[in-house]
Symmetry: D3
Subunit: 279 residues, 6 copies
């Protein structure tokens, strides 16, 4: 299957953003017919993500560019490793370099950070989830990077998951009323409810909630909630999760831990493009 | 002046990304006519950026939402501070919350990180510059955030600045030839050339380069380059700049220091929306 | 909340489709400054749907058109009833008439047909569901019309619901394997599986399916499935449902009955616009 | 000639409408590399229309899908007949199935209904015309379906035909004035005028109308109009035309009969996709 | 009626074309809050066209700009005359100046050139027509300018007029066959046929052509064609028409003369914007 | 490198502009399977520009059209010369003819006029520059045509060049202040300032202006300015430049002369398409 059209359009806009009326330096100094090859090289260890997006960016710019891939999506790439080789006119390779790298670096950064959180909970049975705290316009790709790094996607938006929060509870007249009403209205989606106390965990269970999100609770309170709900419904922990505390949280026995930082605070992986000559 | 149309379109796409066919939780649990107010609250200290973008996002969703701002773009906001109050239907406030926050958090994150780099070089006369290492599709806004944090924008893309790199030099037959050719072709843009040795600094000066970028050079080599070029052309340092070493670099007397991390590795500022009742 | 932007864009495209370079008859024969009022009149009994879409279409064409509504979305409108009055320049009213009516007629047609199916199962406890058999590009609006007519929406697309069909079962190695794998992968969505025999109903139950769709089964077989599954999971009937047989099907005790005809074969409601003079 | 770009864009939007972030069921249960073939099968007799649109939809999703066609546009397909075979990855075939079918079913439905009206007037010399009562956004395709079913297109929109209605007549000061003014302004288009009485037929003839539309007139009145105008200008009948009365109307000797139902009330043709294995 | 959406989109793209990431000179030198007024002044005599487009451009950039118009579309503006006054922030006025002027200058240029051709044939009864030789993307506006200058629009594109040329004649087997076939297929459009000899004029008349275009014929041949066809069908002259020979051509008695130069070779009217202070 | 996406989109919109629902004449009279070849022929001498745009237009319409080019971009084509041969279905060639020609004729017209200005200053060392007075939406292509004709591009828009005009000077408090402020803010762009007197030339020089534009000055005053500034900064002349006076202006020794007429008042080159048979 080709990349979705809205991703292709995102790529096209990003190319326009960088080029507008053209790469004026290369147009001045590099003959139009010059051809080269170049390699993408890892400048540090990371989980690779976005190579297909980078390729699409290069193809969109110049349909005659060819890419030979030496690593696969999700692979643990090591510093110094050659990820891919691209061949085309020198002008096109230089014109597409930055956009291709920007996608790959950001997506690999997210995949890499995710993989660290996933490694931290290894053996506990807990899954690491993303949130909706993504860069505007990049959610589809960023959630793909989370999966590539071993994480699990929470809902993609407000449209494909029921998550009852405090304002919904207030409007509905209580946890129980909210859960019951939501379950009656949505047969095809599970109903998740966000709670802040163990009391509410009990009420949510009574009402038949399908998933309970423990919001900003201490590890002790999380452990209490696990005692109450374990084996009945999955529990998700959310709020103030870090690489330092995630293992402790996971060891309480919760099923899912969502981490906003995966997408909102990942730093870019370090990748560079090195030009060579056509071989 | 209104926000540029491509920014409005970015916002519209981001809203669609989060909503698709609607906020199904709120549509089920919150009456359409319920009205509320909500506040945006700083959960940590940061430099505020993106409030106008957040407002536009909310207006695009629901033209009847009103926003009262308590802080200005670029202000140093403190933990606990109320940034703005918004009023509208409860459904609209909840539907727009995440997109508004995602813009503000990312842009404030970049402004905040920039301000730290700027503070680090205070008194040295050096300017902190951004790069083209931005999130695809977000360059205009991310460069705005850099300015908001006290940084200076380098070129916006390949179209509005001449930056001669190694491949251009190779194709042109040397630093001198490249600079001369570029100057002859572009009367309205200064010609910047990237060099890696002090020898090349001299050659670039001879050729009449307008700006010289010292790429990945040691502090010692940077100091040598300053000795050679100071007072003749501005020098820009690029590569491996961190919050730790930027002051030392700046103290060599270079004019500009570009930092990719400003945009590619800033973490989001922590902001939350708290719902209240209409007052 | 304003209409979603993709609906506004749909409307804008539909106006362009009808107008291209303009309403050449009115431009020739009606003075630009002529103002009129007009009324939308029901030419038969139906359930009203799409009045807000019609208003947006008129506003998009001419932001000075005003609409006064006399009936609400979902109301049972009677033949001869005046639905709304619009005021504006005569040219604008005539130019927007057809697009406004085309939306209202199609959506009201769907709402009306839906309401007939809903009425047919009244008292049985069964819900009437739509399908993905919608007019390309109109799904959001057509599913809105189904809700307006008293129906319930099934998933909006392939993205917001798990529906395991025969090919998925084949690929997974059986009903049980498919259901278990899907449940393990999707915590936030219920898992529905389509079966064709009562044997498969049992297997689906064993595997923990959340919803079972009985595909093209006879009323007798449906009744058997109800005996097996009632009180355990909701059952949905799909295939060959008509206004004639839906009541019999509903009386078996199934929970949901999906009807493709709601959207793929509804005929338009008969509505006309009658021009008058400004009052 | 390729499909027009606005049709390609319609298809792309329709795919996005159904897929948004992906076909989550198939992604979970079907290996990415699984390949299949599938056939489109007629579940009833109908006139085939839209096969090229279906193919474009599948190609847009996955450029490697191949389609072998066994029937041609406009062919009378019989129940059980295989229309086409498609080959590709199983995921792509399942992801594109519904959109491809939705186009084909709707267009074939219109072609089929049109062919029934055309058959009903066979031998009378009257042509069956469509109207502007089309699904918003689908007019080009729906009018193509009308032609495929043997019908004739009336104007495509307000831009490519002069049709003088009551409001134009009122504004111009009478049938005669309206016709004369329109003829003087538009040399390249014929001038059609809508009348409701035989008196107006005479006035329209006197004014030099090129076509006269008899709006909602009884068969007797239509016959009178034919007596008056036959051999002078073509007559079009419009309003309340059904499959039952169209033959009687046609036998009066009118030239054209326009039928809104062709596009606004056709039911979908029944077509299904059946997966097999790669052969 | 508002400007059509595709015109608004054209304007938005043109603004983006000029601004991309902003008016960097004004952002540097003019305070954001500075307000001014400015006037559009005619630097030569011309027929005004495009003032509404200019206003829309300014509004699109900054919805708070106000325009007071002192001249109307189609007016003969004299050198030195003030056309309109605009008020807004200085930055916005300067940012929108060029795009507003570019529209007005081009459209006024076309209107002015058209008016000269129209004046040249005054008293002869011949109409001056445009062609499809327009600037890509600007046809709607350029044909509006032709009307504003007193000209008449020929068909807008290939979609709204039948014009049989040599290749069609060849494919159909002769003038007669082509005309007859076209008339049988298109009841709502007149059939125009392009001929190059008086012999073909006769054949076209015999076949019932509605309009005959005399392509690249000498004035003598045109006169012969008029003798043959006058009073039967309108004649259009096309090819090599200039301001010098149009009167002679018109005096032969032809009905219409089409002139490609109106749109493909008009020079811009000279208009400038002069800034003042807010009054 | 492929054509930029915004150019491809421009082409697609231009095709839609001409075709809307189709080329109704050819669809009626030419069999779908008829194939032809056609040639583009120069009807006068001109500098060729836009052949690649024409090819893209034809490919966009019908990806099976093939073009064989006999002349290169920028070549001086002679009357009667065959520029290119295209092969495809007759319908596609006729449908794409006008759009392909409109691009080529306009761009060749600009290239040709530019080449005349360039020839006029030959030997003087002065360059001929374009302005921002371009057709809205066509700037990229029109500036490409200027280069093709031997001219030099001034800035592409308000975003890629600093040009200080009278209003900026007024706001900044004088020529000197404006220049100094702009230079301090923009390290990567030269600072050009527009002056109207020799006194201001001196002030601009003192302030360190990088380029000085002499606006609407007499040849005598230009000569004085050259005396003052020659060898210090490049001088650009702007305003009231014609083919008659440009040589005299160039002989004063100025470096650049900008001419709005290149783009705002070029007449189209005369090119026609002649159909033949497939060879």
């Amino acid at each position: 299957m080709d990349l979705p059209l809205f991703v292709k359009e995102h790529i096209a806009r990003s190319l326009r953003e960088d080029l507008v009326h053209g790469d004026i330096t290369s147009q001045t100094l590099i003959p139009a017919s010059d051809a080269s090859s170049a390699v993408f090289i890892a400048k540090e260890d990371f989980i690779l993500c976005g190579l297909f997006v980078a390729r699409e960016a290069l193809h969109t710019l110049d349909s005659s560019i060819r890419m030979q891939m030496f690593a696969t999506e999700g692979a643990a790439v090591e510093k110094g490793e050659t990820i891919a080789r691209i061949t085309g006119t020198t002008r096109s390779l230089l014109a597409g370099e930055r956009v291709a790298l920007n996608y790959m670096q950001r997506l690999s950064g997210i995949a890499t950070l995710t993989s660290k959180y996933v490694a931290a909970v290894e053996g506990t049975g807990a899954r690491v989830l993303d949130t909706r705290k993504t860069t505007p316009g990049m959610r589809f790709l960023e959630k793909y990077a989370v999966r590539t790094g071993g994480g699990t996607n929470h809902r993609f938006g407000l449209y494909d998951g029921i998550l009852i929060k405090d304002n919904h509870i207030k409007a509905a007249g209580g946890v129980k009323q909210a859960v019951i009403k939501a379950k009656a209205s949505h047969r095809f989606l599970r109903v998740e409810v966000e709670v802040e106390t163990t009391y509410d965990v009990i009420e949510a269970l009574d009402a038949g909630a399908d998933i309970i999100m423990l919001d900003n609770m201490s590890v002790e309170k999380i452990a209490e909630a696990v005692d109450i709900a374990k084996g009945k419904v999955p529990l998700e922990v959310s709020g103030n999760v870090t690489l330092k505390n995630i293992k402790t949280i996971a060891e309480t026995g919760v099923d899912m831990i969502s981490v906003g930082a995966l997408t909102h605070s990942a730093r870019a992986a370090d990748i560079s493009m090195k030009m060579g000559d056509v071989t």
